[in-house]
C-alpha cells in the first residue's frame, strides 16, 4: 500500500515480491496473473473490497456475498474474487443483480464495474435501481474512459480531456456521479480515490451494512489509456496528485463536486449521503400481504 507523503521514486525502490497476496484466500489464485496493467487502480479497489468482505465475514458469511460485474477492465473483477461471481453483459450487471437479490434477499450483492459500463450503456438501469431502492451495492471504478477497448471517450470523461475518440478534446461534460446517484435515490453515496484505501474499505463495509441501494465511486488511475494523454503520468504519479488535490468534505454540496481531472483542480471526496428509505423488498412484503388478504377475502 502507498505510504502517504513518499515520492514515487522512493516507492519504486521498495519493490517487494511476495509469494502470496494477503487476500489470497479470497482470490481465485488459479486465475492469476490478472489482465490489469501496471499502475492500474482497479487492483486497489478490489483489495479494499476483499478486506471489507473479510471484516464483514462474522456478520455476512462469504457464501452469502456475491459480486456481479458488467464488461470492461473493471468488469473482470468478478472473475478474480473467490465468492459466487457473475460476469454478465456490458451495462447489465445492475438488472442482473436486481433479479438475483429479489429471488434471494439473503444475498449481499455488490455490483463492481466501470464508468462506461454503469453510466453509458447501463445508465438507465442505474437510475432505476436507485429509484427502486433495490438492496444492492454498486462500486464504480471511475477511470474516466473505456479502458478495455483502448481508451475511448465515455460518460465521465471530463470536458476537453483527450481520449482516442476525442483526440482534440472532449466536447461534452462528464457526469458528476455522486450527484446523479443521490438524485436517483441511493441511500448511501461516497466517493474515494485509490489513495484512500482505508476510507474506501470502510465505506464498502458500511455499504454492506446498509439496507438499500448504495453507491461508491472510486477514482482510479488508468495510466495506459487516460493518465498519459492527459498529463497525469503513471499510476503512482496520479496517486501523488490525488494526495495533493483531494479534499475530504462529507458535507459537500453534491452539485459542486464535478471533476475536471486537470492538474490544477481539486477532487472532493467523502461519505456524502447516508439516509434510510424503505427498500423494494420492504415494500413488496406489504404488497404480498395485500394480495393474500384480497385473495382470502374473496
Amino acid at each position: 500500500m502507498i505510504q502517504e507523503g513518499r515520492s514515487s521514486a522512493a516507492l519504486e525502490l521498495r519493490e517487494v515480491i511476495a509469494e502470496h497476496h494477503p487476500e489470497d484466500e479470497l482470490l481465485r489464485e488459479d486465475r492469476i496473473p490478472h489482465i490489469w496493467c501496471p499502475g492500474c487502480g482497479i487492483g486497489v479497489a478490489v483489495t479494499a473490497y476483499l478486506e471489507a468482505l473479510k471484516l464483514a465475514a462474522p456478520k455476512i458469511p462469504l457464501e452469502k456475498q456475491v459480486v456481479v460485474s458488467g464488461i470492461g477492465c473493471t468488469g473482470r473483477v468478478a472473475g478474480y474474487v473467490s465468492i459466487d461471481s457473475y460476469h454478465t453483459t456490458h451495462g447489465r450487471a445492475i438488472p442482473f443483480a436486481t433479479g438475483l437479490k429479489v429471488a434471494n434477499p439473503e444475498l449481499e450483492i455488490t455490483v463492481f464495474s466501470g464508468d462506461g459500463d454503469l453510466f453509458a450503456i447501463g445508465g438507465n438501469h442505474f437510475i432505476h435501481a436507485a429509484r427502486r431502492n433495490v438492496d444492492i451495492n454498486v462500486i464504480c471504478v471511475n477511470n474516466f474512459n473505456y479502458g478495455m477497448t483502448g481508451g475511448q471517450v465515455g460518460p465521465t470523461t471530463p470536458e476537453m480531456a483527450i481520449t482516442t475518440t476525442s483526440p482534440y478534446g472532449n466536447m461534452e461534460e462528464g457526469f458528476n456521479l455522486p450527484y446523479l446517484a443521490a438524485a436517483s435515490g441511493a441511500v448511501f453515496v461516497a466517493r474515494w480515490t485509490t489513495l484512500h484505501f482505508r476510507k474506501l474499505r470502510d465505506a464498502i463495509l458500511h455499504a454492506f451494512s446498509k439496507r438499500g441501494f448504495t453507491f461508491i465511486e472510486v477514482i482510479a488511475p488508468c495510466p495506459t489509456s487516460f493518465g498519459r494523454p492527459n498529463e497525469l503520468g503513471q499510476g503512482l504519479d496520479e496517486m501523488e496528485w490525488y494526495l495533493q488535490s483531494c479534499v475530504i468534505d462529507h458535507q459537500a454540496n453534491l452539485k459542486e463536486i464535478g471533476l475536471s481531472m486537470r492538474k490544477d483542480s481539486k477532487i472532493v471526496v467523502g461519505n456524502f449521503l447516508d439516509i434510510e428509505r424503505p427498500t423494494f423488498m420492504d415494500r413488496y412484503q406489504e404488497i404480498i400481504k395485500r394480495a393474500k388478504a384480497q385473495l382470502s377475502g374473496r
Binding site: 459466487d84 453483459t89 436486481t98 429471488a103 434471494n104 434477499p105 404480498i288 395485500r290
Partner: protein, 391 residues
C-alpha cells in the same frame, strides 16, 4: 426477511388455478407459468403481450412471487437470468420490439446455461409495425436473433389451452436442459378467449439438476453429466462459482483466447439440445396417411389450415396437415418423410418456416403468406390447395 423465490421441489397446489376456465391465451400463459413454479416475472409492457404482465402482477404476490416492471426489455431479460441464477423459475413476456432488445442477454442465458422462459406474442413487424395485430415473423429471429451459434427450444401454441400447457413445457425443458426456452405465440392466440382445463394432477414438473457434492468439495459448474447437462449451483450455496458470458471452461473460468475450449464447450451446448431432439420435438399429424397434399402450419395459422383441410376433404381432396408445435429444434425427420407429397406452408410472414421445410423436404414448397396485420383465411389456403391439386 425469510422470503425467497427459490423453486421448491413441488409446486404448491393452492397456487394452481385448478378447474375449467374461460381464458385468453395471454392469461393462460401466466397461469401456466405459475403452475410450473414460476415465481419471478420481469417485464416491460408491450402489446399484445401486456396481459401476461398484468396477470402476473396480480397473481404473483398472491402466491408469494415477485412481479418486477423493469425500465426496458434489456433489463427484464437480465433480471430473469439473475433470478434464475439465485434459483427462481423466471419468465418475461414481450413482442417484436422488446424481443429485439432482449437478444443480447438471451445470448448470455445460452452461454451461461441459465434456465428461463421468454414469451413472444408476435405482432406485425419490422420495427413498431402493427402493435395490435397478428404477425408470425419472428420465427427466424428466435432461432438466430442473438449473435453466435446456439440451439433453440421454441414452441408455437395454437390455443389458450396450449398457451397454458406449453408454457409449463417451456419451463420444464428450460430446467431439464439448462437453457432459455421460448413460447412463440401470436396476437390471435394471445387475445383469443377459449376454454382452458387445468388439472393439477396432470401437471408434470421438471426441476434443474443440482450439484451432487457438498460445497467445498471439488465442483465444476460447467462439467456436464452423461446427458451433457451440468448440474447447476445457485448463488449463495457456498460453491463459490464463477459464471461468465465469455467463452469458459468446465470450471467456469474465462478461456476467451482458447479455440479448443470454444469448440469443446460450444459443441456440447449445441449437442445437449440437438442430441435430445426426439425427446423435445412435438407436432400434430392430421390425416397424413393418404395425403397427397400436406399443409404445414403453426400457431393461429394452423387453425385456419385445419379448417381448410376439412373443406378440402369434403371436396374429396386428399389433404393432411403437419402442425408444428416445436418449431425449434425443427422436426427435420418428420418433414423429410413428407417429400412425396405436395407441401403447402401457410404462415403470417414472407416465408420463414417455409424455407426450413424446403431445406428438409429437399424440394420447393407452395406458400400461403400474409405479411402481418390479418390472419390467413381458411379460404385462401383452400384456394391454394385446389390450385396445387390441379398441378
Amino acid at each position: 426477511m425469510g422470503m425467497n423465490l427459490i423453486a421448491k421441489a413441488e409446486v404448491e397446489r393452492e397456487a394452481i388455478l385448478a378447474g375449467t376456465h374461460f381464458l385468453s391465451g395471454d392469461d393462460a400463459c401466466a397461469e401456466g407459468a405459475i403452475a410450473a413454479g414460476c415465481r419471478f416475472f420481469a417485464g416491460y409492457p408491450i402489446t399484445p403481450s401486456s396481459e401476461i404482465a398484468e396477470r402476473m402482477a396480480r397473481r404473483l404476490p398472491q402466491v408469494g412471487g415477485v412481479y418486477l416492471q423493469m425500465e426496458d426489455e434489456i433489463a427484464s431479460m437480465a433480471a430473469i437470468i439473475g433470478a434464475s441464477c439465485a434459483g427462481a423459475k423466471a419468465m418475461t413476456a414481450t413482442s417484436g420490439p422488446g424481443f429485439s432488445l432482449m437478444q443480447e442477454n438471451i445470448g448470455l442465458a445460452f452461454m451461461t446455461e441459465t434456465p428461463c422462459v421468454v414469451v413472444n406474442v408476435q405482432r406485425g413487424g419490422p420495427s413498431t409495425g402493427m402493435p395490435t395485430l397478428i404477425g408470425q415473423a419472428d420465427m427466424m429471429q428466435v432461432r438466430f436473433g442473438s449473435h453466435g451459434d446456439y440451439a433453440v427450444i421454441a414452441y408455437a401454441p395454437a390455443s389458450p389451452q396450449e398457451m397454458f400447457d406449453y408454457t409449463i413445457k417451456a419451463f420444464n425443458m428450460a430446467e431439464r436442459f439448462r437453457t432459455p426456452t421460448f413460447v412463440m405465440s401470436d396476437e390471435l392466440i394471445g387475445h383469443m378467449l377459449e376454454r382452458v382445463v387445468i388439472d393439477p394432477d396432470k401437471i408434470k414438473i421438471i426441476n434443474r439438476k443440482r450439484p451432487r457434492v457438498e460445497p467445498g468439495e471439488r465442483f465444476w459448474p460447467f462439467e456436464p453429466e452423461a446427458d451433457l447437462v451440468p448440474p447447476m449451483a445457485l448463488a449463495g450455496e457456498g460453491y463459490r462459482i464463477h459464471v461468465t458470458g465469455l467463452t469458459h471452461d468446465e470450471r467456469g473460468y474465462p478461456a476467451a483466447t482458447e479455440p479448443e475450449v470454444q469448440e469443446r464447450m460450444l459443441e456440447r451446448m449445441l449437442r445437449k439440445i440437438l442430441d435430445h431432439r426426439e425427446e423435445i420435438i412435438e407436432y400434430e399429424e392430421v390425416e397424413l396417411e393418404d395425403a397427397e397434399i400436406v399443409l404445414v402450419a403453426y400457431g393461429s395459422t394452423a387453425r385456419a389450415a385445419m379448417r381448410a383441410l376439412r373443406l378440402a376433404r369434403e371436396r374429396g381432396l386428399k389433404v393432411g396437415m403437419l402442425r408444428l408445435i416445436t418449431c425449434w429444434p425443427f422436426p427435420d425427420k418428420k418433414v423429410a418423410e413428407l417429400r412425396d407429397a405436395k407441401i403447402i406452408v401457410a404462415e403470417v410472414n414472407a416465408g420463414q418456416m417455409a424455407r426450413e421445410v424446403e431445406r428438409h423436404a429437399r424440394k420447393p414448397v407452395y406458400k400461403v403468406n400474409r405479411l402481418g396485420g390479418e390472419p390467413i383465411h381458411p379460404d385462401e389456403i383452400l384456394r391454394k390447395i385446389e390450385e396445387v391439386a390441379q398441378r
